[in-house]
């Protein structure tokens, strides 16, 4: 089919870009606009560890070059934040008070790193790692053979740590219930996985071993830059502290939009929200899964990409249901290391 | 005129030679028609320069185009014979460049008030320190007799064969209203008066306008002739106060019936040179002397 509709996609990650590609193929004359807060075009965040190997030209991380967007007539609006969505009038409002009308809307806004309540006061002392400039900042702040203290240890953090360890940095992981997120590791399996981490070169400190973290502060002059003090009085020093407590969906702009939200946007198996013109894809939505009679999150770039494609297909007339066909489990390799299917993007 | 006394040619020649005024005449013979009023103007200017003791090299005659404008060739001084109507702005340039020079602009009624009319008010209002001698013969003589801005109504010429319908200008009234600081009128048929007026005009510090009535013997046989002018020309009333501009304007208007000769108006006020010098002082600069580029200093 080919219409003159205006398809708007919020987010330019894996889901959003796959959806755009599929929409353009299936609805050639339509107008497609992609809105993202990022200043970069679609880039490979999974490759960010390369920054630590010296790659600083962001253009080498770009997955789709500028020409792709021009050729496919996808209007890519970067550095643009959506602040409100009006599902009845089919309009969204941008932070700079511009109103955009849409015929269909795909919310593929993804997720942002989560920081537990008790650590928010230490935010200035922590270094994030999601965006390109953050990766550069970390790489610049890390001295040779530096010591990184990782809090939580989700798969993004673990992936980074692999590169750091390979580059002869020291990584100390303060493991807790966020470790291995989004993979779920049972209590029984946990000791083996933790051992595997040690095998890979991590120093692992289990939360219950040292007790909870009491404070994080700037190290004294001459000492490493960060000083962690635990409730039991013991201390840990390092050059950087990086939180990796998993991600939470970015959906503040959807509040008051008229669609149902729980922790994520609630969507049917066809990825449609409670509004017939609004769909969602990626790690910001929970899909109704009949088998467990429950709304579930699905993670990993393979699933996220499939969601993007599915949503686009359904937006353009299909009526297909989501079926997760990609394995999400964390594996232990033969040589006692951990391997996540979410690493190594293709 | 009083009683006739015999004058011997040799005595007269000696008197002329001794006066020194011949030094101010160039070797070129004037190209004017015999009887033209301009001959006496040349005499009068040469005499004035001589009597005032102005060195030949310090005088510059500036003219436009016309019979009158041939004038510079007949005076032994520096001179510029420029374009029709452009004597006054050229004179502005000469005087601004070297205020020590005595600059006399000359021109006819067409040169001054037709094509050159736009420059007259500005030379007068700026009080440019020059003398402007206007040779008014009410006709364009050099091009053989067309009407001019001061030709009388009814005058018949090749370009007005059925009679001139245009009302003539009143130059004296105009110059008074433009702010000229010295305005006078004289007559080429009265050489004594002419000489005296020219000298006064040149002595005056500021813009001096001397209107000189002069017959064109070749092309005007009906209006402005020696006979007619001889009868019409009279002196300004002895009671006229030359510092009273309104009175001067009144007298100027009466000219339309019969021309009166004499000093119409005179005042002293700062000249353009004064203003330019004041600017230099205000800006903190140093006044320059000028003798060409000699002694010019670059920064």
């Amino acid at each position: 089919m080919s219409t003159a509709r205006h398809h708007v996609i919020i987010g330019s990650g894996v889901a959003g870009n796959q959806a755009a590609e599929t929409l353009r193929a299936r609805d050639p004359d339509s107008r497609i606009t992609m809105v993202t807060v990022s200043r970069l075009p679609f880039f490979n965040r999974y490759d960010l560890p390369r920054v630590f190997r010296g790659e600083r030209d962001w253009r080498r991380f770009v997955i789709y070059p500028a020409e792709y967007y021009r050729r496919n007539r996808i209007a890519l609006r970067r550095a643009t934040q959506v602040v409100a969505v009006d599902s009845i009038n089919q309009a969204l409002t941008l932070q700079h008070k511009e109103t955009i009308h849409f015929d269909t809307l795909l919310v593929a806004s993804g997720a942002r790193p989560y920081l537990p309540e008790e650590l928010t006061e230490y935010r200035p002392l922590l270094l994030g790692f999601g965006a390109f400039h953050e990766a550069v900042r970390v790489a610049d702040a890390l001295p040779k053979k530096g010591h990184v203290i990782m809090l939580g240890g989700d798969t993004i953090g673990l992936d980074l740590a692999r590169t750091l360890i390979e580059l002869r940095h020291r990584v100390t992981l303060l493991a807790d219930n966020h470790t291995f997120w989004p993979h779920e590791v049972s209590e029984d399996d946990r000791p083996r996985y933790i051992e595997a981490l040690r095998n890979m070169g991590f120093d692992v400190v289990e939360a219950k071993e040292r007790g909870c973290l009491a404070s994080i502060s700037q190290g004294a002059p001459g000492l490493p830059a960060r000083r962690l003090v635990f409730k039991d009085g013991s201390e840990l020093h390092g050059d950087l502290v990086m939180p990796f407590f998993g991600n939470v969906p970015i959906l503040d702009f959807m509040i008051g939009s008229g669609v149902d939200i729980e922790r994520g946007l609630l969507v049917r198996p066809n990825l449609r929200t409670t509004n017939e013109n609004i769909y969602a894809a990626g790690d910001n939505c929970q899909i109704w899964t009949d088998s467990v009679r429950h709304y579930c999150f699905y993670h990993g770039w393979k699933n996220v990409r499939a969601m993007g494609e599915l949503a686009a297909r359904n937006i353009t007339g299909a009526d297909e249901a989501w079926a997760p066909i990609h394995d999400e489990s964390l594996r232990l390799t033969a040589d006692g290391k951990i391997l996540s299917p979410f690493w190594e993007y293709q | 005129m009083g009683e006739i006394r015999p004058v011997y040619l040799e005595d007269k020649l000696k008197e002329v030679e001794d006066s020194g005024r011949l030094d101010y005449r160039s070797k070129a013979l004037p190209t004017w028609c015999p009887g033209c009023g301009y001959f006496s103007i040349v005499e009068a200017v040469a005499t004035a320069l001589c009597e005032l003791g102005i060195p030949n090299e310090d005088a510059v005659m500036v003219s436009g185009i016309g019979c009158s404008s041939r004038f510079p060739f007949f005076i032994n001084s520096y001179g510029i014979h420029t374009l029709h109507g452009r004597a006054l702005p050229s004179a502005l340039g000469v005087k601004t460049a070297n205020p020590a020079l005595t600059v006399v602009a000359v021109g006819g009624d067409g040169d001054g008030f037709a094509i050159g009319g736009g420059h007259v008010p500005h030379a007068a209002r700026r009080n440019l320190d020059i003398t402007y001698l206007l040779f008014d013969n009410g006709i364009y003589g050099l091009t053989k007799g067309q009407t001019s801005p001061t030709s009388a109504v009814g005058f018949k010429t090749p370009t007005s064969p059925y009679a001139n319908p245009d009302r003539p200008l009143n130059p004296l009234l105009m110059l008074l209203s433009h702010g000229a600081s010295w305005v006078g009128q004289s007559y080429a048929g009265d050489p004594e008066h002419l000489r005296s007026m020219i000298r006064q005009a040149m002595e005056h510090r500021g813009f001096s306008y001397l209107h000189i009535l002069s017959p064109c013997v070749t092309f005007d046989k009906t209006h402005r002739t020696y006979v007619n002018l001889g009868m019409q020309v009279h002196a300004l009333p002895a009671t006229h106060d030359p510092t009273d501009k309104l009175a001067a304007m009144g007298e100027a208007m009466k000219n339309e019936q019969a021309p009166a000769v004499g000093l119409y108006y005179r005042e002293q006020r700062p000249t353009l040179d004064d203003a330019l010098d004041a600017l230099v002082e205000k800006a903190g600069g140093e006044k320059r002397g000028l003798r060409g580029g000699r002694g010019r200093k670059l920064r």
């Binding site: 550095a79 | 001179g79 000469v94 460049a97 010019r296």
Partner: protein
């Protein structure tokens, strides 16, 4: 070149767009870079018309702007949106991130940025209000932001700011606060563009570099050559020459008078020249037409004078605020009779300075009117110019006559070997003569006989040839490949800058290419140009007028087939267009040309 960054700021007249560009270019000059800058003004005096300030910052002086800018700044999205394509790929697009009022779709710049450009969405208004309490200082904030973002030193910028707002007290303080606020913000931002500022070039010895406009350079040249008198009448785009001289000349003890019209101006200039002064006037096309008759007088009476003519769109009243080079024929030939004069046309702002000074030398040396022909683009554009610490001009180039003890009349127009007669100046005893517009003999007396007319005509024409070898002046100059070339460009005036740039680009593409600038158009450097044309397989003559006026003069002097590139875009030539023509002539384009 290690530094070649062009910045374009687009806004409305009320946004302080031009002021921002001015501060930036002064700042870049202060830091030590070379700058060329040309602004686009709206037609109205006040109001909300579009302005674009453009500056190109380099380590080696450039003489044209680039087609694309490296940084594009929007101070007003409604004006900037049509220009967003001007920013190159990986270049920066800087704009206001917030909005005061709700906007319909497409009204914000963010919706028009190409995926290859790098967006910098800055809270400019907020920074302005926080640092100075008013949004009026947005333009200063953005200057600071650019400096911070590009990691350039801020002290020279503060100096430039102080210089511009000298004596305005409280405004200067506010501006500093705005600048610093923008600067701190710029420092914080992560760079995603690939713009590079290399180190500024080393200081020149014996010269001090200043950023100056074409008209201001004319004024500087005139003052440095010791101008005595100026008479002028206001006309766009030459007016600022008179205005600047009006405030400068009294300080040097020189005299300026604003006349009632252009005819009075040129008449007074000639009168002053006759009296021995270095005198000049300045005008544009319409004024030059009015001056034609007087210029002829200057030629026949052999009176030194200088006329600065800044060309604009013609004919007649034409387009007073638009660029064009269509007064060449008027300058070279304007006026009845065989009336040759010297016409020199600078090709850069530095050239304006040098031509202005040399013009006074030539006027005196060859006793003739000299027309210095520039144009709106040169008049209003800024370049960094290395001014020599001591003016290179000769204070007096007159040939004087010794008139002491002169008897039978001074021969002001004596027939000499080189055609230049020794002159006398009013005030000089024994040198009396009349300068007349009539044909005359050696004494200056009117003479209409054929042999004298021939002798004097020949004199007036032949004497000018010496101007081609006037000391310190190059009538023409060649750039680029030496020897045989595939394509040779011959250009004049401001068009040469774009031609030079196109030539460099053509050379980079492997085309053997050279370019000649002809600065002295009258007398024409026949030998030099003929030698050059013999080296060229194809000749391209680009200029901004419809008739190909320069090409016509060129072909008249050196008969040779050339390719005329005449364009009247109401703006300077485009480098890409010239380059395309070069490629075509060099046979590098195989596809048929679009009609």
């Amino acid at each position: 070149m290690s530094t070649d960054v062009q910045i374009a700021i687009v806004g409305s007249a009320g946004d302080g767009t031009i002021a921002a560009g001015d501060i930036l270019r002064r700042a870049m000059a202060e830091i030590g870079y070379r700058v060329i800058s040309f602004d686009l003004y709206p037609a109205e005096i006040r109001g909300f018309g579009k302005c674009i300030a453009r500056l190109r910052v380099t380590d080696e002086q450039a003489y044209s702007l680039k087609q694309q800018s490296d940084i594009l700044v929007s101070l007003d999205d409604s004006h900037a949106i049509p220009h967003v394509g001007e920013a190159r790929e990986w270049g920066a697009v800087i704009y206001e991130t917030h909005s005061v009022n709700p906007l319909p779709e497409g009204a914000h710049l963010s919706g028009h940025i190409d995926p290859g450009q790098v967006p910098y969405n800055v809270p400019i208004r907020e920074l302005a209000e926080k640092s100075t309490g008013s949004a009026r200082s947005r333009n200063i904030v953005i200057v600071g932001y650019i400096i911070g973002l590009m990691r350039l030193p801020v002290e020279p910028v503060l100096r430039a700011l102080v210089g511009k707002f000298k004596g305005k007290g409280d405004i200067a303080q506010k501006n500093e606060a705005a600048l610093r606020a923008g600067y701190e913000e710029g420092l914080r931002w992560f760079r995603l563009d690939d713009i590079e500022f290399g180190p500024p070039p080393a200081q020149e010895k014996g010269a001090h570099v200043e950023m100056i406009s074409g008209n201001a350079a004319i004024v500087r040249g005139a003052l440095d050559a010791g101008i005595d008198n100026f008479f002028g009448y206001p006309i766009t785009p030459a007016t600022s020459i008179m205005e600047r001289l009006a405030s400068e000349m009294p300080r040097h003890g020189a005299r300026l008078v604003q006349t009632e019209d252009e005819i009075a101006a040129i008449s007074a200039t000639l009168g002053a020249g006759y009296a021995g002064a270095r005198a000049a006037t300045a005008t544009s096309g319409p004024g030059l037409s009015l001056m034609a008759e007087m210029l002829g007088f200057g030629v026949i009476a052999e009176v030194p004078s200088v006329v600065f003519v800044s060309q604009r769109g013609g004919p007649s009243t034409g387009m007073p605020t638009k660029h064009e080079q269509s007064d060449l024929n008027m300058a070279v030939f304007g006026g009845h009779g065989d009336a040759p004069r010297i016409v020199i046309a600078p090709t850069s702002v530095e050239g304006c300075y040098r031509c202005a000074g040399r013009a006074f030398e030539m006027a005196e040396a060859y006793q003739t009117p000299v027309i210095v022909l520039l144009d709106l683009y040169l008049s209003n554009r800024y370049e960094t110019v290395p001014f020599p610490d001591r003016p290179p001009f000769d204070a007096d180039t007159n040939r004087y006559a010794d008139t002491r003890g002169g008897a039978a009349g001074f021969q002001r127009y004596a027939l000499t070997v080189d055609g230049v007669s020794p002159r006398s100046i009013p005030g000089q005893a024994g040198g009396m003569h009349v300068a007349t517009g009539l044909e005359h003999n050696e004494l200056g007396r009117p003479n209409d006989q054929p042999d004298m007319h021939l002798a004097q005509s020949r004199k007036r024409h032949e004497k000018l040839k010496a101007a081609l070898s006037h000391p310190g002046f190059e009538p023409a100059k060649r750039f680029g490949d030496t020897g045989q070339v595939e394509v040779g460009l011959v250009a004049w005036g401001s068009s040469f800058g774009e031609c030079l740039e196109a030539m460099y680009l053509a050379q980079e593409e492997g085309i053997r290419c050279a370019a000649v600038k002809v600065v002295m158009v009258s007398p024409f450097p026949v030998d030099f140009v003929a030698t050059f044309l013999a080296d060229c397989k194809e000749v391209l003559v680009p200029e901004v007028n419809y008739q190909g006026q320069f090409a016509g003069i060129l072909q008249m002097q050196v008969p040779r087939a050339v390719t005329r590139m005449t364009r009247i875009p109401c703006a300077p030539l485009r480098v890409e267009e010239i380059l395309d023509e070069i490629r075509r002539l060099a046979g590098r384009i195989v596809e048929p040309q679009a009609a």
